[in-house]
Symmetry: D5
Subunit: 96 residues, 10 copies
């Protein structure tokens, strides 16, 4: 089941840069592990912003929730979620 997730990262002023780099490295490893499993299917940077547009392919709402809450940068993120489904004009039976 697909969801579009948009994440914007806001670093609070004065946050320790080394600690933030450590969290970013963890976030990257976490994201790449989910990408390799085919769960975090797409991730694009929004040009000019510290933000991404992602497509998740999960079992259900709870699966999505557990993954997002486990993001190392979650406390610094504004997140919006939109449930997606097959579009009747898609030429792919299963556009993931």
């Amino acid at each position: 089941m697909l969801f579009k997730v948009e994440m914007t990262v806001r670093v609070p002023p004065g946050f320790d840069p080394q600690e933030f780099e450590r969290l970013k490295a963890k976030e990257k490893a976490f994201s790449q592990d989910l990408q390799r499993q085919g769960i975090w299917r797409h991730i694009w940077r929004v040009a000019g912003l510290y933000a991404n547009v992602s497509i998740f392919d999960v079992r259900d709402n709870s699966h999505l929730h557990d993954l997002l809450m486990a993001l190392p940068l979650y406390p610094f993120m504004d997140i919006t979620v939109a449930p997606l489904c097959r579009h009747p004009s898609a030429i792919h039976e299963d556009d993931r």
Copy 2:
């Protein structure tokens, strides 16, 4: 070059249903032609809304503009556009 395009369709009250079905059929053919060319790379329905989330892969801004203005349902759409680029955490060199 990738862009996220979100389209919401609003049919004005009283619009002729047959004419609208005719435009929808044209829209579908137009979209599927671009999908087959690899330009309209993804199209998903937003669950519960007459709206889609799409990913376009175009030559440049003008190419995107010309395609969107040519959509048969364009006069009924609210559209937002976000330029995308490769995310540093993506495991794909080229996530299209």
Copy 3:
């Protein structure tokens, strides 16, 4: 899988009242059929507004989408959708 759906009905000025009553009767029958099946689990009126808060229990995003698009009053509705999941503080294993 649970979703909160909020629907606000807007009747365009000048719409034929008899036709609207006919659509409302169809909407009610459609809703009650889904309630009896345990799919449209809750429906509450928002006090003072022509609007409802509903809880749907569906198989997946597509199931929700197909049900909402089939609502007889769909063309007159503003709809928002929020995917829900079990809350860790809930005393029910399965709060539906």
Copy 4:
């Protein structure tokens, strides 16, 4: 009398994590006590957000106010309240 209450929790950056865990445990106990009394009738997590959708069944507006002001996490919450009532299409005389 039913109310929909939506709560979003925002932890200020730098807040002591242990103190926050202590408040969360108190919040959980407080919520579960009200759930057992049939006052906090439903609580769902919004997928991907540190937020919930809840249904309260209270004596009156003051009763609702006193309960919400007593939430241990109240100082960290954004709250919206909507008074609900029976929907004419509900198949239940009393959908709580």
Copy 5:
């Protein structure tokens, strides 16, 4: 039980002025009847706007809903509702 209700009236362009005057007269009679019963406790005009701020004293949410849906000008109104209760600084035990 008290509620603040704010109503803004929007007359669609081209609406028959005589029919509108007839509805306004019915609205006034309806409002004054509720005022005499002590249900519609206050009604003030917002200076410069076709809008009012009102205080209703009703039995419960459903009572409020039924009254507002019965307003002759309801189809032309934008309405917001806020449940009120006694303020701890009020010098009146019962400020209605």
Copy 6:
């Protein structure tokens, strides 16, 4: 002359609780003094929020301004002001 004033109190995180209690006590005394004079005619709590809806009866705009600026909790408040006048449907010549 009547004004609706809506006040929402926001306590900055980390503000000294004892100092805040001291300000609240001053605010209550200040409000009750104005209520006794018939200037702060109504004050209601908005259910679930640290906010109030108030009706002031003042000589003019400056009088209102001076009173609000003198509120002990003013630095913590978001305030909106709406000038009110007699509603043509009011049954009271002078609804204060």
Copy 7:
């Protein structure tokens, strides 16, 4: 007593241009009469918009309301009202 009033005019598509010119002429005469009386103290055009910023000097809220409701173009206007008073930094005792 001073108020800032901002008015934006929106002509519904298809409105009879001659009738609109007639209303504009009445509006101008009405405005100039109030300007000559010193009630409508200032009126400025907002560059690029069919909108004005005005300063009214009225007896009280009701006086303002009655004047605005009598504007020939009132049915086509979006209006916002802000009560003003003397600024402590003004060099004029009475800046009208």
Copy 8:
């Protein structure tokens, strides 16, 4: 050339009150000097808010910019600017 400028002052919590009083005194002197020169033509307090509505009469956009950036309280202000011009209904050739 006239501009409407609206300024809202927000003092960050914990800012040194003496330093703020010192800045306010400088702001007042700065404003009064410009008022005497006929540049800051009007300044009104918005009733109930720490905000003003002002009319500036400047040579051009840059002149306005330089004046606003020089305000001693500028770092604490939210500012909106609207370019004004003569209204065709004004009875004054030059309403400053």
Copy 9:
């Protein structure tokens, strides 16, 4: 003196297409005449939208106002205006 002007065109549903083409041709001629005079210095299409971003170089606010009010498509436009001035980092003394 420079201004950024953003224009979004909205064609009302059912507007006569031939009349609209006629207005568009007049708009183009009007715009190109001002471009040739060096007044309408830049005009760019916003990709995907029936909207433009323009830079005007005018004598003053009134000059800008008169030009925008004379646009043949003005009745179909939403317009925002921002006064611009030289940026201290610009390498051009006069970036027009």
Copy 10:
């Protein structure tokens, strides 16, 4: 390929002024270098605000992203990006 970029700078209260001046000097040098290369084609100050309107001429979305992320003041900026293309009414083949 052209983009409009709007940047608003917000300095957090209490930020070290000397460090900020150092960052501003770096920002200016960075901007001027890109201006000399013809990449940052225009930069205008928005009158009255600590904000600019800029036009970038870049190879593609990624090029724009890399430049904006490298701005020394990026952590203090709110940024919006709009992809631009040639307007059909432009008299220049290539309005940069």
